[in-house]
């Protein structure tokens, strides 16, 4: 196809315009028809599909044609310094993405992709919630060329160091089983399965026919066996959830590898859908670890990263979904390997040598007082209706307040190092966040009226990124003077370093 747009001054390395892999139409139409699989199956197998189903299939035809056209007009060119993507059937759209702005390149390969040696490519820049471009699909060879371009442009423009990629972490299936036991992912899997059953159909009617019968039977049996059976059912459900969880991780994170090559981290994982994400190390904004009670039982932690490029994370297997989670550095990791791994990724970060500082001396007292007052208020509010209960629960709340305040204060600590700030908090789920000064944006103190009464302040540090991690640098209950000093230190250190995405 002839380009009617002014061609750029062709750099020595500029490549001619390319279209997608010849088989792309297959995947594009495939993606477009994904939502229609259910109705189609219904139409095929269910006797005499209703009009709605026939219509939905009819409506699908233009969608499929549209997808095919999209494939036909899609063009990209690897220029000297940018990739130029032209697409759009009616509204023509030309997008220039400089290589230097590309945060990560993610690949997704499902089994069919792999069969043909192609992959879906997501290019992410620091802008917003969606990938800058989704290219469906390119041959692996074409992707490698793209990758090399991006790498060559990045940072020092000298020759790409041809270091062999080093594997920093490899998760065997035993680890994944552990992760499955730790996590609550099973809940999501269960929801997905029931949703699927619903969609595939038949289920709905069967349920309707069955459910009164089922309910009646269930009512009878529970009446007979009573409490014990209920407990058993809950137990079975819990076990089932864990099993789902284990299965989920065995599938999605199978053969998880974290590799480091020159200045890039690369994660590869998945049994059916093979995902590979590249994260330039210097684009890591924040590192966050968390350990639930179960994690601690197994002596494990999970480590996530926040990059300014928002999306590329552990995914729900879908190719196009806007990810809800930040990318993994390590989905599960033995506790004692954490300092070592961090050192490999960010050599200046020394986790063992942190000077942990506690909160202000009055923090515990203040938490206790707040808890007491709240319990008293709650008790007073519920007294008219519940009377004895409200009174009886008060000691429980007091005890809880005491426990919470003690554990909260004990587990909330911060440390300032030469490279940045570390903050940990939480006693049920323990979280630890690490932020280099070079990645800190603005720092501010916040004082509520209560803070002022106690001469305290909170310190918060802002970072770039999508804000998908649920832990950030937000240190409460500091002495006002201390908080001010920390703010000053962070500000001074941040000002000395220039921020690079």
């Amino acid at each position: 196809m002839e380009s009617d747009l002014p061609t750029e001054v062709a750099g020595e390395q500029s490549e001619p315009e390319q279209s997608l892999h010849p088989l792309s139409w297959l995947f594009m139409t495939g993606a477009a028809s994904k939502g229609l699989v259910g109705p189609w199956l219904l139409l095929l197998f269910a006797s005499g599909g209703s009009y709605i189903e026939v219509f939905s299939v009819l409506f699908a035809v233009p969608a499929l044609i549209g997808a095919f056209l999209k494939h036909a007009v899609f063009r990209y060119r690897l220029g000297a310094e940018e990739i130029v993507i032209r697409d759009g059937v009616l509204t023509r759209n030309e997008r220039h993405i400089p290589y230097t702005r590309i945060q990560n390149i993610d690949l997704v390969q499902n089994p069919i992709h792999r069969l043909f040696g192609v992959a879906l490519v997501r290019l992410e820049t620091a802008s917003g919630q969606r990938p800058e471009a989704v290219i469906r699909v390119l041959s692996l060879e074409a992707i490698e060329r793209l990758r090399q371009r991006v790498q060559a442009q990045r940072g020092s423009r000298d020759k790409i160091r041809e270091d062999e990629a080093r594997v920093l972490l490899h998760l065997p299936d035993t680890e994944l089983v552990r992760l499955g036991l730790i996590s609550n992912r099973g809940m999501l899997v269960l929801a997905a399965i029931s949703g699927l059953l619903w969609q595939v159909g038949g289920w709905e009617q069967q349920m309707e026919e069955l459910s009164p019968e089922l309910l009646r039977q269930f009512g009878e049996t529970t009446a007979d066996f009573g409490f014990g059976l209920g407990l058993l059912a809950v137990l079975i459900l819990l076990i089932l959830l864990r099993l789902f969880s284990v299965a989920w991780y065995l599938f999605t994170l199978h053969d998880f590898q974290l590799r480091i090559k020159a200045d890039d981290l690369r994660t590869v994982y998945g049994l059916l859908n093979r995902v590979s994400a590249t994260i330039p190390i210097r684009r890591i904004q924040l590192i966050s670890c968390h350990a639930t009670l179960l994690h601690r039982l197994f002596h494990r932690v999970s480590v996530q990263l926040e990059t300014a490029g928002s999306i590329g994370g552990p995914g729900e297997g879908g190719e196009f979904d806007t990810r809800k989670e930040a990318p993994w550095l390590a989905p599960v990791l033995p506790e004692d390997r954490l300092p070592g791994l961090l050192r490999e990724v960010l050599p200046e970060v020394d986790l063992r040598n942190l000077d942990w500082q506690p909160l202000a001396a009055g923090a515990r007292k203040r938490l206790i007082r707040r808890g007491m007052i709240l319990s008293l208020l709650g008790g007073a509010a519920f007294f008219p209706t519940f009377q004895g209960w409200a009174l009886g629960l008060l000691p429980v709340f007091f005890a809880w307040t005491l426990l919470h305040a003690t554990l909260f204060v004990r587990n909330t600590q911060y440390a300032l190092a030469d490279w940045g700030v570390a903050f940990r908090s939480g006693w049920w789920v323990r979280r630890l966040s690490l932020l280099g000064y070079a990645k800190s944006q603005s720092a501010w103190l916040a004082e509520s009226p209560f803070d002022r009464r106690h001469g305290m302040a909170s310190l918060r540090v802002d970072t770039a990124g999508a804000g998908k991690l649920n832990h950030r640098i937000d240190i409460p209950f500091l002495e006002a003077g201390v908080a001010r000093a920390i703010r000053e230190r962070i500000h001074a250190e941040a000002s000395r370093r220039s921020f690079r995405w």
């Binding site: 230097t100 800190s440 944006q441 603005s442 004082e447 509520s448 990124g465 500000h491 001074a492």
Partner: protein
């Protein structure tokens, strides 16, 4: 912050209170006039409405002055600092090297008083943009220029 900004904030507030008063008067008046049974109740209702509007009016008069009193900002070669808040206080430090871009914006009221807001954008998430309102327009432009210079080494 320009002292005139207090006037502007009061004017804007007064406008809102006036709109609110008129809008809420209609249902209040309808209820008060239609419920003829108990005359004193409608009187109470009207009185409550009057007090609410009065308190609101007083607050819109006082609040800008308080806010003005508690706002401090300054700048040095490292960055911008803003301290503000009447009850909930905040004290922000934005390093100059983290400023992505700055806007100077003027609303219609601000324009007639020759005031402007300086908006500083960073790459952050929570404080992605910090607004410093009620500066005199020339000062806002001057600050913007100050913030722009020396930001060049920040190649992304």
């Amino acid at each position: 912050m320009d002292p005139k900004s207090v006037t502007v904030a009061r004017l804007a507030g007064a406008l809102w209170v006036a709109i609110l008063a008129v809008a809420s008067l209609i249902p209040v008046a309808i209820i008060a006039l239609t419920s003829t049974g108990v005359a004193w109740l409608s009187g109470v209702l009207l009185l409550a409405w009057g007090i609410a509007i009065l308190v609101l009016g007083l607050l819109t008069f006082l609040w800008p002055a308080w806010r003005y009193r508690f706002l401090r900002w300054w700048m040095d070669d490292r960055g911008v600092y803003i301290r503000r808040g009447v009850l909930w206080r905040e004290d922000i430090a934005i390093p100059k090297s983290r400023i992505q871009h700055t806007d100077v914006s003027q609303g219609p009221l601000e324009r007639s008083f020759n005031l402007a807001s300086l908006i500083v954008h960073t790459a952050g998430t929570v404080n992605a943009s910090v607004t410093l309102a009620g500066l005199s327009h020339p000062l806002a432009m001057h600050l913007r220029d100050l913030l722009l210079e020396g930001g060049q080494d920040d190649g992304v």
